[in-house]
Amino acid sequence: MARIIVQSAAFDIAAEITRMADEAGTDCGAIVTFTGLCRSEKGALTALELEHYPGMAEEEIGRIAKIAEDRWPLDAVTIIHRYGKITPGEGIVLVLVASAHRAAAFEAAEFMMDYLKTHAPFWKKEHRTDGQEGSWVEAHNRDDVALGRWQD
């Protein structure tokens, strides 16, 4: 069972890795983590504000983790996704995967990130340094392309 958390607070990567290593036990050979950080876009942004659909966000993330767990031999999965105002340099999303095999851990982590980008009900509004009304970050076609790689 994956550990899925949707929260506004910052996450503690070290604590999550320790927790996962303990949970996965002594036959887990590999832990891959992905941390998605808020970018300043070369100083243009003071923050990103993440809106989310409570309930559906947890469900969708859980569903994505389940697909990965069915597809690869994984020992443990953790996904933490934040909402609310997040400043440049801060973490937005954290994905951890433990597996006996490094290729499985890498692929599952990348797969889940590709799915989160296009399927997790979060929306990002820019807060700009120049004081102008920020726009909503648009979905990227390249994220749909990335997702397409995982179709059989």
């Binding site: 809106e51 996704h81 980008k117 009900p121 979060f122 929306w123 990002k124 909503w136 648009e138």
Partner: protein, 83 residues
């Protein structure tokens, strides 16, 4: 029926959620969008490119031709930008 809106769909419509009694003529999601567009410029603006708006029935993604059935909550929002 509870309708909920997110991101620029919410901003254009002007409320995050509302309760609506739907007429019997509404069977699928596309019928509901058409009906909402008739309720004012804010709805017309939110759905001006209706095909780009994503829909969830009871917190599950559905296409625009999905039957509404006994839905309790229908959500409208732009393509997701998670992660």
């Amino acid at each position: 029926m509870k309708l909920v809106y997110f991101s620029w769909v919410r901003e254009r419509i002007g409320v995050p959620e509302e309760e609506r009694d739907l007429p019997d003529s509404i069977h699928i999601v596309a019928d509901l969008i058409e009906w909402l567009i008739g309720h004012g410029e804010n709805y017309a603006y939110a759905f001006e490119n209706a095909q780009t708006v994503r829909v969830a029935i009871d917190k599950k993604h559905v296409p625009h031709d999905a039957p509404i059935g006994n839905a309790r909550e229908i959500a409208f929002f732009p393509p997701m930008t998670g992660g």
